[in-house]
């Protein structure tokens, strides 16, 4: 009961913060909606990276730090190969590369480390991160590369008669959101309807039981890492089409960590919802809260979005130790 009360207090508080700029008239509604959309867009990308995390964690208990490096590597592969061939072919080949990568990781990293402490596995994925970053740059180069999806970059104004100044919409943002929704829908279908998907869910629920009824654990791992690789590819292509593909992309993935603690390590809806909450929360905080904080404390510039996501996630954790949708476990003495 007490836990619920705390959760309600926290949610009310956050909602109040969300509405505050509108209520106090600090922002006109049109701009407010733009910030909201901007936050949602950032959130979609966080969600996609977090989705990769969650898939892998569910199936193999590995906290995959290399997800960001995978995003970079996949995007680099697409961008560089698209220079000499059509984009669709480059994408297909890149998917092939990510599947090969999943095989290699399973064979050389996961299998020898089976049953190790989660922290050891986390460290191993950090090793994978280093390797992949070095390998990606060695093979593909470290310049800024383009992925051109053929979508106009100039913004479009909509609802000009409804709000003063209208609302700015980017076509590539819309395309990205659509792509993300399609991807999630495909994943849901895959998990619900195919035999492999059901096997994956069985492994996620209880891998010992799954193994005992004849589900090959190693193959499941390869599949799950491949799926995570494809998710990384989609995230990388969306990101790359927007801002160009460069080494820095891999560092954005750190933002997916608060998302997974917020949503819970094992929940796919949690990853999506968590991503959106974090995206909206931090953009709102940066745009509306930071200027106030800078004035009040004479700070050297805002930038509270750097930690806002983590603190938000931490607050949630104190109320809900397993995240929004995480598995509850009860300790008995």
């Amino acid at each position: 009961m007490k836990r619920n009360r705390n959760l309600i207090i926290l949610c009310v508080f956050l909602l109040a913060g969300l509405i505050m700029p509108l209520a106090t008239g600090a922002s006109d509604p049109g701009f407010y909606i733009e910030v909201l959309l901007g936050g949602l867009m950032a959130g979609v990308l966080y969600s996609l990276v977090a989705l990769g995390f969650v898939l892998i964690f569910k199936a193999s208990g590995v906290f995959n730090f290399a997800q960001g490096a995978m995003v970079l590597f996949a995007a680099l592969s697409v961008a560089r190969m698209a220079e000499v061939m059509p984009l669709w072919l480059a994408t297909l080949l890149a998917i092939g590369i990510m599947i090969a990568f999943a095989f290699i990781v399973e064979r050389l990293v996961l299998r020898p480390l089976v049953n190790q402490d989660p922290v050891v596995l986390l460290m191993a994925t950090l090793g994978v991160t280093y390797f992949l970053n070095g390998f990606g740059q060695a093979v593909w180069g470290s310049d800024i590369y383009e992925i051109n999806l053929g979508i106009a970059k100039e913004p479009v104004m909509i609802l000009q008669n409804l709000f003063q100044g209208g609302i700015l919409i980017n076509k590539d943002d819309v395309a990205a959101a659509v792509a993300a929704v399609v991807l999630v829908a495909l994943l849901a279908l895959f998990f619900q309807k195919t035999k492999t998907g059901r096997a994956l869910r069985a492994v996620a629920d209880d891998h010992l039981a799954a193994q005992s009824i004849g589900i090959p654990l190693n193959r499941i791992w390869v599949i799950v890492w491949s799926v995570a690789g494809v998710v990384a590819l989609v995230a990388g292509v969306i990101w790359g089409a927007k801002l160009g593909v460069q080494f820095s992309v891999s560092q954005v993935a750190l933002k997916a960590l608060p998302v997974v603690i917020l949503g819970g390590f094992t929940s796919i809806p949690g990853a999506i919802l968590g991503g959106l909450i974090i995206g909206v929360g931090e953009k709102m905080a940066e745009v509306f809260l930071a200027p106030i904080a800078v004035k009040a404390f004479d700070l050297a510039g805002g930038g509270i979005e750097n930690w806002f996501a983590y603190v938000l996630a931490l607050l949630f954790l104190l109320v809900l130790p397993e995240g929004l949708f995480g598995e509850k476990h009860i300790d008995r003495v």
Binding site: V119, A124, L317
Partner: protein
């Protein structure tokens, strides 16, 4: 043949409880100390001191600090570089604002301030654990980074946000040359390592280990989790804070908040996992591995007479570094300290293994 304990009888409890119960270990330790204090300063080059030994010593101290928390108490932290930066900025402000303080006092105070901040961020550990806690400590990392970058008072209103320090002076002995820096650090690290070693053998360390091995059971036998977890966070942050002050004053000389970013936190975690969790000795191994390996990899092609482009060398370095980490984790997940122990075990039986 030389390394065996036959004939060494322990006749008192005191003897049985000493830190190095085997005579040969004591002799080895004495020789090692003699070498690092007495011989090394005369034979090593400045480059070795400045680029390898000085960062190695400071990071060993930080790794010991992190090991107390992670290896002994089982609480994971991905934000320890933040506590290093608290120590560094605390020391900077103490030296700046209270110039009459001796640097050793500054060091202790900086550690205490870091410990306070560590306690604050350790509070969530009472409710959450495991990987959730690991990510929660990232909040400390980013929040502290941001604070030092933004609140101008901490950096004495420096326009660039970068601070620089004066040379350290201890009772008239200035720590300026590489050899002096090395000796100063060596002395500090030796003392702190000894204290840590005894801490973990004592009451507090046992409480931590009980907490790590099974928290519920520990609570049943009367160890208060609040006490055990928070002392671990406090002591660990104290060590790391001292290391941070030394990192800033002795190694860097001038720094910006970026010097204590998430990569440093991850590197510290690497050190204790490669070196060995729950081992003071392992912290030294791990620190050396992480400090020396990239430098070695970076220079290796040149020594081997292979001419590669700078970019290729640097990419290869990242690839080999990553592969070696995975390799070590696979071969010995318990770290280099475990290898050391196995080696010692073997040596005791050698040359007659039966």
């Amino acid at each position: 043949m030389l390394y065996r304990e036959n004939g060494q009888f322990k006749t008192t409890y005191r003897q049985d409880q000493q830190m190095l119960p085997i005579l040969q270990d004591r002799i080895f330790m004495a020789l090692l100390l003699l070498f690092v204090f007495g011989v090394a300063p005369f034979i090593f080059s400045d480059y070795l001191f400045l680029s390898i030994l000085i960062p190695f010593l400071v990071l060993s101290l930080a790794a010991i600090g992190l090991n107390l928390l992670v290896g002994y108490c089982g609480q994971i932290s991905l934000g320890h570089a933040a506590f290093m930066s608290v120590g560094a900025y605390a020391a900077y402000n103490l030296v700046l604002r209270v110039p009459q303080l001796n640097f050793l006092v500054v060091l202790i105070l900086a550690g205490l301030i870091a410990a306070l901040v560590g306690l604050l961020f350790g509070i969530p550990s009472l409710r959450i654990r495991g990987l959730y806690l690991a990510v929660a400590t990232l909040a400390a990392q980013f929040f502290v980074d941001w604070t030092f970058a933004r609140v101008k008072w901490f950096t004495n209103y420096a326009p660039s946000g970068s601070v620089s320090t004066a040379t350290i002076d201890i009772f008239g002995w200035t720590v300026d040359t590489p050899v002096r820096k090395y000796l100063f650090l060596l002395a500090v690290v030796t003392v702190f390592a000894l204290v840590a070693k005894n801490l973990v053998r004592g009451h507090m360390g046992r409480a931590w280990m009980a907490m790590r091995d099974m928290d519920v059971a520990a609570e049943v036998i009367g160890i208060r989790p609040v006490y055990a977890k928070l002392t671990a966070f406090g002591v660990s942050s104290f060590y790391v804070g001292v290391a941070g002050a030394l990192w800033g004053f002795v190694y860097l000389g001038s720094w910006e908040p970026l010097a204590f970013d998430i990569n440093l936190s991850l590197n510290l975690l690497f050190m204790i996992i490669i070196g060995g969790m729950g081992s003071i000795l392992g912290s030294f191994f791990g620190a050396f591995f992480i400090v020396a390996l990239p430098i070695l990899l970076n220079q290796a092609p040149e020594w081997l007479g292979i001419h590669l482009s700078t970019a290729m060398v640097s990419n290869l370095e990242a690839m080999i570094f990553g592969s070696l980490i995975i390799f070590f984790l696979i071969v010995e997940p318990q770290g280099l300290a475990r290898l050391w122990a196995i080696g010692k075990e073997k040596l005791r039986l050698w040359p007659f293994p039966h």
